[in-house]
Symmetry: C2
Subunit: 360 residues, 2 copies
C-alpha cells in the first residue's frame, strides 16, 4: 500500500538543498530552490513541490539551467529593473528580482522588475507572498512554452502563463495563483480513471480538434483550451506583454519552436510588481479591510450546508498551517526519488527527514 | 423595419455633450462623458455606448451622480494618488485619474492612481487606451455592485469587476477588456429567442440555485457565475483589492446592501496603472515586438478555413476603423432616446448628426 510521509519542513529543505548543492549549485542558490519547492508542498501544491527536483536536475544536466550562472541587472531606474538570468535557475533569478522589487518599492512606493533568460520558478504566488510580507500588494506572472490554444486555433499558440496577485491581511494573506487553461493536465488522470468524457471546450487532441475523449491520444499530447476562451487567452497574451516583451526575452513560439528540447533550452521570463500600501492608506487599515472582507465571504449564504466561500489562497493557507503542525506530506515515490538523487550526488540519507509514514 | 443610423462621430459627440450640459453638467465634464460613450459605440461595444445616456441622467436625477461635483486628490506621492470622486460622473473622475497617472509615469516611470466615490465610467479599455498612447502599458480595473456569485455561494457576493490591459503597438494597440462572468447578461436574450438551455455552470436563478433554463426568472434576476469558477472569482476579488480596498472606498455589499437603490447611490472605485516602456527598453523595439507577435497570431493554423486568431481588442479596433470611415452605427431606438433627452433639455436636434439610415 502506498504511503505518505510527514516530513519535518526544515530537515526536508536542508536535504533538498544538499541535493542541489551536490549537483553543482552554489549553497545559497540550492537553498533558494529547495525553499521554493518545499513550500509548494506545504501549501498543498504538490505538482510544484519537490517532485520537480528531477526536472530541475535534468534541465541542469542537459543545459536549460546553468547552475553556475549569476543573474545580471542589465537596466535599472529607481522604480524598474531588467534582469538577464543567464539561464540560472528560476528561483535564483526570482530571489534577486524579489529583493530588488521590495527594496525599490520600499524606497519609491512602487516597483516593476522583469527578468529574461530565467527558468521555471515554481508557483508565482510563492514569490508574491515574499513581496506582500512588507505590506505591499504583489503581482507576479511568468511565461511558459506554448501549451495553450487560442480560440479557433488548431495548435498551441501561447503559454499557459500563470498569474498571481497577493494581498496582505492579518496573518492570512489572500493569494490568487492561477493559470489560464480550462483544466489542469493533472485532472486528465481522473477522467481516465472514471472513464468519463471531458466537459466540452476543455481540450483539443494532438491534431488540434476539439475532443471530449480522455483517451484520444497520449496524456501530454492534449492541447489546453483557455478558460472563458478569449478571456483566458487574452490574460495569457497580457502576461506575455509584461514578461517576455517587456524584458526583451523570448515570446511564445520563440521559446519552443517545433522540435525544440525544453530540457536543453527553456528561456523563461517573469514580471514582479510591488505596490507599497503606505502610499495609499495606513497598512493596518488596509489589512483590517481585507479581514472584514474575508469574514463577509465566510458568512455568505451557500448552496449546500457545511460549505463556505473560500477566499483566494485559503485552501493553500490551510494546507500550510497543517504542514507546519503535522509535517509536510510526501508520497513514497517522491521520497524514493529524493533518496535516489541524493545517492547519485554521493550523499547519505540523513535521519529525521522523512517522519511518520501514513497509509494513503 | 428597424433602422441603423450611421452617425458622424464628431457631430454625435457634440450632440451628446449638449445633452449632458443641458442637464447641468459642466461643458468639459459633459464632453468627457460624451467621448467615453461615443467611442464605445465606435468600438462596437454598443452596450457601453450612448445607450447609457439614459442611465447616467437617471443617476444624476436620483443622486448617484452629482453633476456639480469636483473630484479631489486626497493623497499623493510622485508615483501614487488617491482621488475622492465626490460622486462625480465616472468619466469626470477618470479623466483626472488618467491625467495624473500619465504625468506621474512620465516623470517617475510608473504610477498607480486609485479613485473612490466615482461612478460607472464605461469600458476600462477606453481609459487604458489613453494611457497607452504615451508608450505606456496600462492596467485599469473597476468594481461594481455584487452581480457575481462565488463558487458554492447561493447569491451574488462580488462585482462582475472589469479588468483591462492595454499594450502599445504600431497603430493597433492590443486591448484586453473583460469582466469575470461566464456569460454577459445580453446573451440571455439569444438563448430565450432560440429557446435553448444555457450551458451548465453559467447562471444561478434568483433563489441561488444552478439553472440552465433561460426562462427560470426575470431577465435581470439571474446571478452570474464566474468564468472558470475560482479563477474568475479570484480575479474579481483582486480587482476589489486594488480598487475599493486600496482607495478606502466601498467593497462589494457595502456598495449595494439588500434593497439599495443604485440609482441613488452607486459609489464606484477604480484603479489605473501606467508603466512607461522606456524604463525597460526602447518603446519602438517594444512596439515592433508586439507587431511581430500579432503577425504570429494571424499566421497560426486554425480549425476552419477562413478563420484566424484575433489579438485581444482586434475586433474592437476593426469596428473603430469602420466607424471612422462609414459612421458610428446607432439603432433607431437609441436615436429616439437621444432626441427625447435633447427635447427634455430644451435643445433642438441639430442637422447632420444622424446620417444615412440602413435597414437592419
Amino acid at each position: 500500500m502506498p504511503k505518505n510521509y510527514l516530513c519535518d519542513a526544515r530537515a526536508l529543505t536542508k536535504f533538498c538543498t544538499d541535493i542541489f548543492a551536490g549537483f553543482g549549485f552554489g549553497r545559497a542558490d540550492a537553498e533558494a530552490i529547495a525553499n521554493q519547492l518545499v513550500i509548494a508542498d506545504m501549501r498543498g501544491m504538490a505538482s510544484h513541490g519537490v517532485v520537480r527536483t528531477d526536472m530541475y536536475l535534468t534541465h541542469a544536466r542537459k543545459g536549460a539551467i546553468d547552475p553556475a550562472a549569476v543573474p545580471e541587472i542589465v537596466r535599472e531606474t529607481p522604480v524598474t529593473a531588467v534582469i538577464d538570468g543567464h539561464k540560472a535557475a528560476g528561483a535564483v533569478v526570482s530571489e534577486l528580482a524579489v529583493k530588488l522589487a521590495r527594496e525599490k518599492a520600499e524606497a519609491s512606493g512602487i516597483a516593476v522588475v522583469v527578468a529574461r533568460n530565467s527558468n521555471h520558478h515554481g508557483t508565482c504566488g510563492y514569490w508574491g507572498t515574499k513581496i506582500a510580507q512588507d505590506d505591499m500588494l504583489a503581482f507576479v506572472t511568468s511565461n511558459t512554452p506554448p501549451f495553450l490554444a487560442a480560440p479557433v486555433s488548431k495548435g498551441p499558440v501561447i503559454g499557459n502563463n500563470p498569474i498571481s496577485v497577493v494581498v496582505p491581511a492579518n496573518g492570512r494573506d489572500m493569494c490568487l495563483d492561477i493559470s489560464n487553461g480550462v483544466m489542469a493536465f493533472g485532472k486528465i488522470h481522473e477522467y481516465r480513471r472514471l472513464n468519463k468524457p471531458f466537459p466540452a471546450n476543455a481540450w483539443l487532441d494532438r491534431e488540434g480538434n476539439p475532443t471530449v475523449d480522455p483517451f484520444a491520444n497520449e496524456f501530454l499530447e492534449f492541447i489546453s483550451l483557455p478558460v472563458g476562451m478569449h478571456k483566458g487567452f487574452g490574460l495569457a497574451v497580457m502576461a506575455e506583454a509584461v514578461t517576455s516583451m517587456l524584458s526583451g526575452g523570448e515570446v511564445a513560439a520563440e521559446i519552443a519552436p517545433p522540435g525544440a528540447d525544453l530540457e536543453e533550452n527553456n528561456p523563461t521570463c517573469h514580471c514582479f510588481v510591488a505596490i507599497k500600501l503606505a502610499g495609499f492608506l495606513e497598512p493596518a487599515a488596509y489589512r483590517a479591510k481585507v479581514d472584514r472582507f474575508i469574514d463577509y465571504l465566510h458568512e455568505a449564504a451557500v448552496q449546500k450546508e457545511g460549505d463556505y466561500v473560500y477566499y483566494p489562497g485559503e485552501i493553500e493557507n490551510i494546507a500550510y498551517e497543517q504542514s507546519l503542525k503535522q509535517g509536510v506530506p510526501l508520497p513514497e515515490n517522491i521520497k524514493e526519488l529524493l533518496c535516489k538523487k541524493a545517492e547519485e550526488a554521493g550523499l547519505s540519507i540523513p535521519e529525521g527527514v522523512f517522519g511518520k509514514a501514513l497509509d494513503v
